[in-house]
């Protein structure tokens, strides 16, 4: 079953979107989660609530509001155009931004609760051994929360691959530019082309299953477990 060029485009775009989004999710989510894990009080509770917010709105609706925000005649849209010279709405960048906002809670919340459970004493020990905060994070926190990072990143990746409401709305379903796999799949279902839908869905599921399986298996074997 050869893939046609539209499908290849969609696959490429999906992988690119999910990868960039996951990378950004981890990059942004990690410091945010760390900050939240070290703080208590109204401000951090408010930010936590805000991070969880995008979950409450149906993706298409969220996408609609993002579109209202990204349109060329809004402050955001104009600022983007001044900075990059191109329009934000219906661009790959818009997809990335939308996906990041949409999946942020799935990365921030597990990381935050993992960070909170890092034994304080280990960080203190590292500090007395000359490790700066960043170094401590890299050399103690990261290795101890590896599995949570894996979880968070795989949730974020999968969610971006599967997500389509937001992408559809702010991407405009432009083949080769913003048409990702999930939209292509959706189109097959919409047009009752079930055979093609089954084929694509089956491929997607098998590939993801295999990927996740190896991910989890490898994370399992080299896992550290504190005896005490």
């Amino acid at each position: 079953m050869p893939l046609n060029s539209a499908e290849l485009d969609a696959i490429y775009l999906t992988v690119a979107l999910a990868s960039v989004t996951t990378a950004l999710l981890v990059l942004l989510g990690t410091p945010l989660a760390w900050w939240l894990s070290r703080r208590q009080g109204n401000l951090s509770a408010a930010i936590e609530a805000l991070v969880a917010m995008p979950l409450i709105l149906p993706p298409t609706v969220l996408g609609f509001y993002l579109l209202l925000l990204f349109a060329p005649d809004t402050a955001v849209g104009r600022a983007w155009e001044r900075l990059t010279g191109s329009q934000l709405a219906f661009s790959f960048s818009a997809l990335v931004i939308g996906s990041v906002i949409y999946s942020l809670p799935f990365v921030v919340q597990p990381l935050q609760s993992a960070f909170q459970r890092i034994p304080q004493g280990l960080l203190q020990a590292a500090a007395t051994l000359g490790a700066s905060p960043l170094d401590r994070f890299r050399s103690v926190v990261l290795p101890l929360t590896r599995r949570t990072f894996l979880t968070a990143a795989s949730l974020g990746f999968a969610h971006t691959v599967g997500e389509f409401g937001v992408v559809l709305m702010i991407g405009g379903n432009i083949p080769g530019e913003t048409q990702v796999l999930s939209i292509a799949l959706y189109d097959f279902v919409e047009t009752l082309r079930f055979d093609e839908a089954h084929r694509l869905a089956g491929g997607l599921v098998l590939f993801s299953l295999a990927l996740l399986f190896f991910l989890y298996r490898s994370s399992g074997t080299s896992s550290w477990r504190v005896r005490t």
Partner: protein
């Protein structure tokens, strides 16, 4: 002189406050001694920068201000080593990984990995995951890790609590050597007064977050009014000069103001001076010089002070030349022998007590 200046006020939870102002020598080993909950760990935490004392507190090592109003050096810039009461090894690293952790993070020091591995006998443990180590093994790795940071000040919070006797005296010997060779000053928290006396040059006694006594070990040990002398394990520390070696019996002779004290062999050149700890409970007194006794060390002394007590036993302070011995005897004996201040008596020091190997000599 190099010193560690402390003026710490630290409000804890549970109605506990650490409140102390003192100047400790930043050289040699300073023992911190006090009952459980008296604030020993809290003090080390403040010095390490792991706990914030009040704004107005000062912590100063020589000319470096670690904490002062408006200034607080973070822990990782203080150049300290800290052996925690719980080992706190990194569970994601093996033994070697834990030992290597500080290497890249501190300025290169004079202590090498090989040395530490040797001293603490960690050869066999290097590849082990730390969660498979026994408690004593963990503690040894933690000591090694702290040493490898080449600290300017070493903080030790009961580092030997989980070690067996042999390993503990081995470690003690290491720490002593280290203190002598590297001149890293150490603060040493311990509940074990014997350990403290063997190791420390200086003493800080804490009670309920306050300093009750502070000074050189020699001074504190021979005074009858300190908490130390009230301890079960009260001891005097005296200094002697190596005067000869008795090779055939494995003994070393020390000159104490003209008297010969025989102790287990110290391989040191004649003329060098040494400190000897003499536990009060190992000293007895007689009016007549005993003969044909297995006790080797019998000295004529003068009773300087008799503890005035109604307890079954009391302490005597005995002068031997310009130095002092402590003796713990029963009140009944004191009565029967009619001991009085300024009496001349013989102090017999149970020789074996001085022969218990390296841990008994400082």
């Amino acid at each position: 002189m190099s010193s560690l200046q402390l003026d710490i006020h630290c409000q804890g939870e549970n109605d506990f406050t650490l409140d102390l102002k003192c100047q400790l020598p930043a050289a040699g080993i300073t023992a911190i001694y006090g009952p459980s909950g008296s604030g020993k760990s809290t003090l080390l935490d403040c010095i390490a920068g792991l706990r914030k004392p009040s704004h107005s507190s000062t912590i100063r090592l020589n000319h470096t201000r670690w904490h002062a109003p408006g200034r607080c050096v973070p822990p990782w810039r203080r150049g300290i080593g800290y052996v925690f009461q719980d080992a706190r090894l990194f569970p994601h690293l093996d033994t070697l990984g834990n030992l290597e952790y500080p290497l890249a993070r501190s300025k290169p020091g004079s202590i090498t990995l090989d040395q530490v591995v040797n001293w603490l006998e960690l050869q066999d443990l290097l590849a082990y995951k730390v969660n498979t180590l026994s408690a004593g093994q963990k503690q040894r790795v933690a000591i090694g890790r702290a040493l490898l940071g080449s600290p300017e000040l070493l903080l030790l919070d009961e580092p030997l609590a989980n070690l067996d006797h042999v390993a503990a005296s081995e470690c003690l010997r290491c720490l002593q050597q280290l203190s002598a060779n590297t001149r890293i000053p150490m603060l040493y928290v311990s509940h074990n007064i014997e350990e403290v006396c063997q190791l420390a040059d200086h003493l800080l006694l804490l009670e309920s977050g306050r300093v009750t006594e502070q000074g050189s070990l020699l001074d504190l040990c021979s005074r009858l009014d300190t908490r130390l002398s009230r301890e079960e394990q009260a001891a005097a520390i005296i200094t002697g000069t190596i005067s000869g070696q008795d090779e055939s019996f494995g003994l070393t002779e020390l000159d104490i103001g003209g008297h010969i004290l025989r102790v287990s062999q110290l391989r040191l050149p004649a003329g060098q001076s040494r400190r000897i700890r003499i536990p009060a409970r190992d000293v007895s007194v007689c009016r007549e010089k005993p003969r044909n006794s297995s006790i080797l060390n019998i000295f004529p002394v003068t009773i300087e002070e008799l503890e005035d007590t109604t307890a079954p036993r009391l302490l005597l302070r005995l002068s031997l030349g310009r130095q002092y011995l402590l003796a713990r005897i029963t009140r009944r004996s004191a009565f029967e022998l009619g001991l009085q201040k300024n009496d001349h008596v013989y102090a017999q020091i149970k020789s074996a007590a001085l022969l218990t190997g390296p841990t008994d000599t400082v």
